[in-house]
């Protein structure tokens, strides 16, 4: 492990925060006390944290229908997210967005876009604005493996490439688009091979290794900031929860799933920390307790928070 202990523990803390947030939300959702639908990211914590921790404060990410992990990794508080998921006016999007649209521009996250691939051109455009104004920031677009088959992906990445924009295109390849496996949707083995079609570098790495993700992101960001243009970064991962609410995942073959559970990022990273003697179980327990306390508090305050007023429906819309 090449990083110092503080950084490693901060990776651990944030990945655990995402995992526990998702688990708590799932429970409340199944109890029926949360409205709407949810797309969760258990098993994909390393990609969110590895990428976002490599960013500078003013960099901006665009996210998808599966945004909770990205938001927490980017630094949105679990409180503002929990309030949003409960549909309270104190949520990060004032109860207008809900689970699929969480975000906070001040924290470097465009409210998530639930139209698959709809967020990719936005990242290209954000990068264009940085380049035009000679600002040193980078835009990052997260996307799923399914999104790369949309026309918007192709068009947006191509523009990023020809204009050498400071943008990073990150594919979180969890092998499925909803219930459809990746083999049915592309003839490629390696999704980053698409990069050649745009004349940009393509990199595929283990997306469940938070350190590797962090380092690969750093390298790509350095290129982007230096004016070399975009990178297509494929992070291989797996979703160990349903696609959306109440999905039994019976399209995931049991052997594949078992293997994926063994490779999930949080357990692996915990093992690594303990084996390398970089943290004691007691230290990790302390972090876990703090995470629980923060989530408990977020749930309690969200339940007590005010509902929006009907007239708020006409606010923030140009009509």
């Amino acid at each position: 492990m090449t990083h110092d202990k503080d950084r490693l523990l901060s990776f651990y803390h944030r990945m655990l925060m995402i995992r526990q947030f998702e688990e708590r939300v799932k429970m409340m959702f199944l109890e029926g006390i949360m409205p709407g639908t949810i797309h969760q990211c258990q098993g994909q914590e390393a990609s969110a944290v590895g990428v976002c921790f490599a960013l500078n404060e003013k960099d901006v990410i665009t996210s998808t229908h599966r945004p909770h992990g990205h938001a927490i990794a980017r630094g949105l508080s679990v409180e503002s997210l929990m309030h949003e998921l409960f549909g309270k006016s104190t949520g990060c999007c004032k109860a207008k967005g809900g689970s699929m649209h969480v975000g906070d521009l001040d924290q470097g996250m465009v409210p998530a876009i639930a139209i698959v691939a709809g967020n990719i051109p936005l990242a290209t455009g954000i990068a264009l604005s940085y380049k035009m104004r000679r600002e040193p920031h980078v835009a990052v677009s997260f996307m799923g493996d399914g999104a790369i088959n949309e026309g918007a992906f192709h068009e947006a990445v191509n523009m990023g490439a020809i204009w050498k924009l400071p943008v990073l295109y990150v594919i979180e390849n969890n092998r499925y688009a909803a219930s459809t496996s990746i083999e049915k949707m592309t003839a490629l083995d390696k999704l980053s091979d698409r990069a050649a079609g745009y004349g940009i570098p393509g990199v595929t790495i283990d997306g469940n290794d938070v350190e590797a993700v962090y380092e690969a992101t750093q390298a790509a960001l350095a290129g982007a900031r230096a004016g070399d243009g975009p990178t297509l970064l494929e992070l291989e991962t797996y979703r160990i929860t349903g696609h959306s609410r109440r999905d039994p995942c019976n399209y995931q073959p049991p052997e594949e799933r078992e293997l994926a559970v063994k490779r999930e990022p949080l357990g692996r990273f915990t093992g690594k920390l303990l084996e390398a003697g970089l943290a004691t179980q007691a230290e990790l327990d302390e972090i876990a307790a703090a995470v629980e306390t923060e989530i408990d508090a977020a749930v309690e305050s969200a339940k007590a928070a005010p509902e929006p007023l009907p007239e708020d429906a006409l606010e923030d819309v140009f009509a």
Binding site: T37, C93, K96, G97, T180, P308
Partner: protein, 329 residues
């Protein structure tokens, strides 16, 4: 064979329509996201893969514009595709193919080719799925010449209209509603078709003509029951197909009741309700006893919060109030 109607859910009725049409005509095939093994989000295509196989029940990549376009191309060359767009919000990605290609090919080629293409999709509010999954966008398709626009409100109509859609030689935009899939209703056992351009009176009444479609029909019928208790008899007219529109059925009702309320879930501005109102005032002005009332969605986005969501689309109370305004004006 007896033709005792059974009770089916809206989604089951749609499923039966597809099954029957695929058995009848092997040029019919279905295509969309997660429709084969998974049977679609609302189970409308459940069981099709088992019976008809992968060749006719196709899971596509996430590529709405192009699988729609592929359906249109296949239609032009002799197939009868039924393409599913999971949410009408995603159908916005297909507008070039639908409006510039499907709707125009017959015209631009001087009548050389037909496009027997069906897009099944689903819209509306009700689940707290926010601004990108809740829109009512029928007006966009209604606006474009060359497209049939179908919006069934009950299982019986859903089945009969979908079968007609599959057999139609011009493109059909078939818009379901997410809150209707589990609704039950009687469906005949025998084969039947419902012609396009033939509306249906869902409730007879003498005091006011209420025109609505899709999920606004059940809501309006409940409102009408409550109004009946107060002595107001509402006639509920469901055009079922917005294009072609059954003008005669509407005008005939208006001439009898002399009062009109039009209810649409879609936002008020630029909606189909305004267009129907303009037709009525042009063709039955002398019969009107009061201004036409339109109850519609607010000109805003659909918010996530359920209370806010409800505030954005017509509710029973809004319908009742509008009927009273029309009748007591």
């Amino acid at each position: 064979m007896s033709n005792e109607p059974r009770t089916l859910m809206y989604r089951e009725a749609l499923n039966e329509a597809l099954m029957e049409e695929m058995r009848r005509d092997d040029t019919v095939f279905v295509m969309g996201e997660g429709i084969a093994e998974r049977g679609g989000s609302y189970k409308v295509t459940a069981g099709l893969l088992a019976e008809f196989g992968e060749k006719r029940v196709i899971d596509t990549p996430l590529a709405e514009a192009s699988f729609t376009g592929a359906g249109i191309g296949a239609a032009l060359t002799g197939m009868r595709p039924v393409v599913e767009l999971l949410f009408i919000d995603f159908a916005l990605l297909t507008l070039d193919q639908v409006i510039n290609q499907a709707a125009k090919l017959k015209f631009m080629t001087g009548g050389q080719g037909n496009v027997p293409f069906v897009m099944r999709t689903q819209g509306g509010t009700g689940n707290g799925v926010a601004a990108q999954h809740s829109q009512s966008l029928e007006a966009i398709f209604y606006h474009a010449p060359g497209l049939n626009v179908v919006m069934p409100s009950c299982p019986h109509d859903a089945k009969g209209l979908l079968k007609t859609a599959v057999r139609h030689n011009d493109p059909v935009i078939f818009i379901e509603h997410k809150l209707l899939y589990m609704n039950e209703g009687p469906v005949p056992t025998d084969d039947y078709l419902i012609p396009f351009g033939q509306g249906d009176i869902k409730r007879r009444g003498s005091d006011v003509t209420l025109i609505a479609w899709s999920n606004m029909i059940p809501r309006s019928l409940t409102a009408a029951d409550k109004l009946a208790a107060e002595g107001i008899n509402v006639e509920v007219v469901d055009p079922r197909t917005l294009v072609p529109l059954d003008k005669e059925l509407i005008l005939d009702s208006v001439r009898r009741t002399e009062h009109v309320v039009i209810v649409q879930e879609a936002v008020r501005r630029g909606g189909v309700a305004s267009d129907i109102a303009s037709i009525i005032q042009a063709e039955a002005f002398d019969y009107l006893d009061a201004p036409i009332e339109i109850v519609a969605g607010l000109n805003t986005q659909i918010p996530f919060n359920l209370t806010l969501e409800a505030a954005c689309v017509p509710q029973e109370d809004d319908i009742i109030a509008a009927v009273k305004r029309a009748v007591y004006a």
